[in-house]
Amino acid sequence: MLPTLNGRLQTRIFMLVVFGGVITLLITPLLPGLDLSGDSYRTTYAILLTVLVLGVLWELLYHFIQQFRWEKDWPTMFGLLTGINEGALVWLLLALEVVPGVDGVPSFWAFFIMFGVIWLVIWVWTNGPMRVPFIRWRFFGGRIV
């Protein structure tokens, strides 16, 4: 990835809304301790929103770190591994019960599976097929508009 700050933010929001939104819709009833109820969906979408909001902040940090790189690139591996710190932070907030819209502490495995699947799908998509429907995206530093 060769992102600009604007490109990072746009890609982050686009991916989490599109892929995160669809995957959450499909996966929620299959997660341990959750079902097809409105409460379950409220929990998972609140988690997704938390990932998105915190992610915007994370991107600012990543952009700063990227400035130390001569190439001004963001290695493919970083895109996958940053899932660890981001996931850990969200789980910490969930465990502390400070995430708005989530009552109680959800099942760890429910969170782990949901977060992991979304992160992996987005990472794969960003590093490959995204170039096909959005042919200018890679030249625009990850900007979509």
Partner: protein
């Protein structure tokens, strides 16, 4: 009026076949002296006119990518012509990579950010190789690079084969018209005349004029130069065997080294020097050559650096390179994966340069430039071994004088410690000096008669859409891309003009892509012709050596 196909000919790039056969339909003094041509002037000169909406001049990878994108955008082959002396778009590139020690099986210095055969850059070369060879290795490499592994790059052969497939798909050869382009002039009333000299016997007249609304010029480097002292030595002593440029065929050097223990002076600190050193060291380590290598750097990089040199070297405004703009270096080399920092392909640096003008743009080019080469495990290992075992020596300085010493060459190398005599058997020039754009006849004509100007770094001045500034002609537009436009708003990138004859449903905005860059520059038509002539002089036993060595170089557009 003649059909474009009538100007197509037997494929050959031998410059001697372009010698004028008959004086009919030639450029007249009136035409050569006039900036804007009328249809009548061209007709009076007896030059047949071919009407076509779009021509691209060059026929290398730059032309290929341009017509590829236009074909994808829906432009039919009947609307475009590629005017070129090359049979295949990758021909010059393959020649240069091969002689500079990247044959088809070796890896280039570009990744899938620059797939000339694939507008998406997806699936990547790494994925293709993984599928073809049924291995996960390339995938692990692109995942872990550049932290745990060297940057992954495709083999040259893979890139050429992919281009060949895409060329077939888009009907590239239907658009190819063989010949040398002599001039492009603006047409009174709009558009351009592009004057082509077809090979002998291919047309009834000496020249053919292509009348088009759009012209794209992608002729590559105007030429490669030798270091002045090397050129002087070669000419004065008529010695083209012991002093070679890495971009000319010099296999005879390696063959000789395998037979006799010898000393070789390698000059330069870029990717080509790395490749040549690898070849010399491979031959030593795997095939028993007893070669001693003297490697002469002009600038020795010993740590953090940028295009101005080591961080302690003087630079405008003084001080050191900021912590955000420092490149790694050591043992003489500046290390960088690709020929520019990666983000010029579409990230931060691309965005930054796009917004800069004049001096500021020239400054950032300078700062991110400078000779550099990738850090590769194998090369580091070989150099370490060479240093340890005493057959790889590094010198820093310049050469004051060169004299023959029996069969050898005595170099007087000026170093910080004084002048040191260095006697060697061969000198391989890997410095890759480039000639000025006026060395290319077509570019010179565009500057003198076409309204074109120079950019902050002295090359052709193009706008953000790659239109050559100052050359607009009515509703027509003239575009240029590639090495001749280096210093523009997009380092090493390409951008396409509006598609002539665009149909509903075509892509709405100009497309962008990058030309594949290997370890070596793209089309160097003029230089290659020269080098090819010299190559024959050395290798073809049927040709009288002396007559060829003294033969004046043929440049693109000379005839």
């Amino acid at each position: 009026m003649i059909e474009p196909s009538a100007a197509s000919v037997v494929p050959t790039t031998d410059p001697s076949t372009y010698l004028p056969a008959q004086p009919i339909g030639d450029l007249t003094d009136e035409l050569l002296a006039t900036d804007f041509w009328t249809d009548d002037m061209v007709a009076r000169a007896g030059i047949p006119i071919v009407d076509i909406p779009f021509v691209t001049v060059g026929g290398g990878i730059g032309s290929f990518v341009t017509v590829d994108y236009l074909r994808i955008a829906g432009v039919p082959t009947s609307h475009m012509r590629v005017l070129s002396a090359l049979d295949h778009p990758w021909q010059t590139y393959e020649y240069l990579t091969r002689v500079s020690q990247i044959p088809r099986g070796e890896r280039l210095r570009s990744d899938s950010a620059s797939r000339p055969d694939n507008i998406w850059g997806f699936p990547s070369y790494a994925v293709s190789e993984a599928l073809r060879d049924k291995t996960l290795k390339p995938l692990w490499n692109v995942f872990s690079e550049p932290i745990l592994a060297d940057y992954w790059t495709p083999r040259a052969g893979q890139a050429f084969e992919a281009m060949e497939r895409e060329a077939r798909r888009i009907g590239y050869h239907e658009m190819l018209v063989k010949g040398l382009v002599r001039v492009v002039r603006r047409r009174y009333g709009g558009g351009y005349f592009t004057i082509l000299t077809p090979p002998q016997g291919a047309s009834a007249t000496k020249r053919v004029a292509f009348r088009s609304q759009y012209v794209h010029v992608a002729v590559g480097y105007p030429g490669l130069k030798f270091l002045p002292e090397l050129q002087r030595y070669r000419t004065e002593h008529n010695d083209y065997r012991h002093i070679v440029n890495a971009y000319e065929a010099h296999e005879h050097v390696y063959e000789r080294l395998l037979q006799y223990p010898s000393t070789v002076l390698v000059r330069g600190g870029g990717i080509v020097a790395s490749r040549v050193l690898q070849r010399l060291m491979d031959d030593r380590l795997k095939h028993g050559a007893q070669t001693t290598i003297v490697h002469l750097f002009r600038t020795y990089i010993h740590g953090a650096n940028d295009g101005y040199g080591n961080e302690t070297d003087p630079r405008p405004g003084g001080g050191k390179p900021p912590v955000f703009f420092r490149r790694k270096g050591g043992n003489g080399w500046a290390y960088q994966g690709f020929n520019y920092p990666k983000s010029v392909w579409g990230g931060q640096l691309k965005k930054q340069v796009r917004g800069l003008e004049g001096e500021q743009r020239a400054e950032i080019y300078k700062r991110m430039g400078g000779t550099n080469t990738p850090w590769r495990k194998l090369w580091q290992k070989q150099m370490d071994q060479g240093r340890r075992e005493g057959w790889y020596h590094v010198l820093v300085g310049t050469v004051d004088d060169m004299q023959p010493s029996g069969e050898r060459i005595l170099n007087q190398v000026r170093t910080h410690q004084g002048v040191v005599p260095v006697e060697v058997d061969f000198v391989i020039d890997c410095t890759g000096l480039e000639a000025d754009i006026t060395e290319h006849r077509l570019l010179k004509d565009l500057l003198e008669h076409g309204g074109a100007g120079r950019n902050p770094v002295g090359r052709l001045d193009v706008d953000r859409n790659f239109e050559l500034k100052g050359t607009r002609s009515g509703a027509g537009a003239l575009y240029a891309s590639g090495a001749t436009t280096l210093g523009g708003y997009f380092p090493r990138r390409r951008h396409l003009p509006r598609a002539p004859g665009r149909r509903p449903g075509d892509l709405r905005r100009p497309q962008q892509a990058r030309v594949l860059q290997a370890d070596r520059p793209g089309a160097v038509d003029g230089a290659v012709v020269e080098v090819a002539a010299r190559e024959r002089a050395v290798t073809d036993p049927l040709l009288p050596l002396a007559s060829l060595v003294h033969r004046p170089p043929h440049r693109r557009g000379d005839h």
